[in-house]
């Protein structure tokens, strides 16, 4: 599925079919279909309450699904107890054992499996080196920083060589700078180990930075699965266009279709839209919703141009953010790099903003 991931014999695929979970009348998971390729890094991304953690815990075995199946390496694990599934799990908040040293935390899964003592020591040492924590082996969890605790949790989940690693908001408790470093580290670790990783997060940046593919969830469903770039460039629904990065939205009716473009009549005028394969066939008169990324907006004339009043113009260092409103009340946010000679528009001024026909994407309304 993804040529970039090295596939080793250790990696296993996961297939989820028709998976649902109800808590009383509330559907936490609704008919989930998902395939994770061997050695893939897949992230379940969604707002809180979208069901992403419930899905991960179903794979781990802590949530009993109401319907559907989970196949790992072709075999159903639905009736296997968590301790026999043999998946590494990094929990939210890490769930390290407070009464054990780092070394003992790592030794635990090996001890439970009856591995001989000498082998345990060697394996623990090797895994600690993998996450660069050898010097903290005899510390207790509460004596470690958040980032160090996260690495211990990671090491403990990997020390018994599980085929699959499940991560539940692994960066949740860390500050932004540290998060960025650990994202890179985790990605490198994934490349090195070549195992299947399933990660859960609500942070779109984290999802984009680490994942081979992202499955976007909302209200118990998977809405779209794809590579980060594809999801960003061609979001399927309005929700995704807004959740993964920012978007402006325009609504209109198809008034003319040519081979490569459609003319769409909106409140604010005619808009040229370059047709995409992924959008399927359009028919005349149909109502469409267009998503438009802020960074696609330029100041001045373009194939699509709107006259508008500047509501705010903010300089943010590497780019400027300009918010304008048209006469019809449509708000458009643009983000653009300013060339040296260019001036930031003045608030209240009348200006023209524009974009290329290829910049818009037709999305499904939610």
């Amino acid at each position: 599925m993804n040529a970039q991931s090295p596939v080793t014999p250790l990696a296993t695929d996961i297939r989820i079919t028709g998976l649902s979970k109800y808590f009383g009348n509330f559907g936490a998971l609704l008919d989930i279909e998902l395939k994770v390729a061997p050695g893939e890094f897949l992230t379940l991304l969604g707002p809180s309450g979208s069901g992403k953690s419930t899905l991960l815990m179903s794979i781990a075995g802590f949530v009993e699904p109401s319907a559907g199946n989970i196949l790992v390496g072709g075999k159903s694990v639905i009736s296997t107890v968590p301790e026999k599934r043999n998946f590494g799990v990094v929990f939210q908040g890490y769930a390290l054992f407070p009464h054990m040293t780092v070394k003992d935390n790592l030794a635990y899964p090996l001890k439970v499996r009856g591995v001989p003592k000498a082998q345990i020591a060697a394996k623990v040492q090797e895994t600690l080196e993998l996450v660069q924590l050898s010097h903290l082996a005899s510390r207790y969890p509460k004596q470690l920083s958040g980032g160090q605790q996260q690495r211990v949790a990671l090491a403990r989940a990997l020390v018994f060589s599980p085929e699959i690693l499940l991560l539940d908001e692994p960066m949740g408790a860390l500050d932004k700078k540290l998060r960025h470093d650990l994202q890179l580290e985790l990605r490198q670790l994934h490349r090195r180990l070549g195992r299947t990783f399933v990660n859960v997060t609500h942070d779109q940046e984290e999802a984009m930075a680490m994942s081979d593919r992202i499955a976007i969830m909302n209200a118990g469903r998977i809405i779209q699965v794809g590579r980060p770039r594809d999801l960003y460039d061609a979001p399927k629904t309005r929700f995704i266009a807004d959740f993964l990065g920012k978007s402006n939205f325009l609504t209109g009716r198809v008034s003319e279709i040519s081979a490569s473009e459609a003319l769409i009549e909106t409140d604010s005028g005619m808009i040229r839209h370059r047709l995409r394969e992924s959008e399927g066939r359009l028919s005349k008169g149909r109502e469409v919703h267009l998503a438009l990324r802020p960074e696609q907006i330029t100041l001045g004339e373009a194939p699509n141009t709107l006259s508008a009043t500047v509501e705010s113009a903010i300089f943010l260092g590497n780019y400027a953010e300009v918010t304008v409103r048209t006469e019809r009340g449509l708000q458009i946010v643009g983000q653009m790099a300013l060339r040296e000679s260019e001036q930031l528009p003045v608030e209240g001024a009348q200006i023209k903003v524009g974009w290329e026909p290829s910049a818009t994407v037709i999305v499904e309304p939610d």
Binding site: G61, V81, N86, V89, Q92, A95, F97, V112
Partner: protein
């Protein structure tokens, strides 16, 4: 801190000292009486004697009462600690609203007046033909001690991340091993305090014991009770003094231990 003593403050301090005095005063009577040379309850009249302490050690009735209390209290610790801990861990794992509702159940013995418990238990043991047996007394005391164990263990669990049980299971250990190998070591302090409470609940329990024991099980409080009714033997004062002394020694050891531990752990 620079506030001068205001009237309410003085009042509070005075009341506090009065209460402390009220609680401690009996000790200053009990101890001298235990040293009297007479055969009845009296202040020593110039002459100090340890004969009543000697009675305690030599009289087989006192020794057997002491042993009975020890057996019952130890049994109570084992039974109430097992049930109370399991209940606390179970409700901790369930969590949420259902656990909040069920939490009241193990606390019920605290709300029911001892006399009511005593009456109910004595009827029950009669029906089961177990009146005046060790198991009956141990189970009865365990019911009374259960709330204390449940509360101390629950308090300890409060600071433990619920997910460590799931973590242990994801690492390959079964539910039983996860609870005993991972949860229990993290609530040792709660278990110890709960066990101590259970021991003392049983050690000085009299109301229920009076209703459900006869000749066979004769605990220390029971012995004190019947001796006080029959005769007024200064041995009771000697016993009381001893128990106070043991309590003070245990408390002193416990306090110094915690103080030393606090000094050892570096401040963060």
């Amino acid at each position: 801190m620079e506030n001068r003593s205001s009237l309410p403050k003085v009042l509070v301090i005075t009341i506090a000292w009065l209460v402390i005095g009220f609680l401690i005063a009996p000790m200053f009577v009990t101890f001298p009486i235990s040293l009297t040379s007479e055969r009845y309850l009296s202040m020593p009249d110039g002459e100090i004697s340890f004969r009543h302490y000697q009675t305690l050690v030599e009289d087989s009735a006192w020794i057997s009462a002491f042993m009975d209390s020890l057996i019952v209290a130890t049994g109570t610790v084992v039974v109430s600690l097992t049930i109370g801990t399991l209940a606390a861990i179970g409700l901790w794992q369930i969590g949420g609203r259902p656990a909040q509702m069920l939490r009241i159940l193990p606390l019920l013995p605290l709300i029911v007046p001892p006399v009511v418990s005593a009456l109910a238990l004595s009827r029950a043991w009669v029906m089961l033909r177990m009146l005046d047996t060790y198991p009956a007394v141990i189970i009865s005391h365990s019911i009374l001690a259960l709330p204390f164990v449940f509360m101390t263990v629950s308090a300890s669990l409060e600071s433990v991340d619920k997910r460590i049980v799931q973590a242990a299971r994801s690492l390959g250990s079964g539910p039983f091993r996860s609870v005993f190998g991972i949860v229990i070591p993290n609530v040792k302090a709660g278990l110890f305090t709960g066990g101590l409470f259970a021991f003392f609940v049983s050690w000085d329990e009299i109301v229920v014991t009076l209703f459900i024991t006869g000749r066979n099980v004769f605990t220390l409080p029971r012995k004190i009770w019947s001796d006080l009714r029959d005769s007024i033997d200064p041995a009771i004062a000697a016993l009381s003094s001893l128990m106070i002394a043991v309590t003070i020694v245990v408390a002193a050891i416990y306090l110094t231990n915690t103080l030393l531990k606090q000094r050892k752990t570096p401040k963060e």
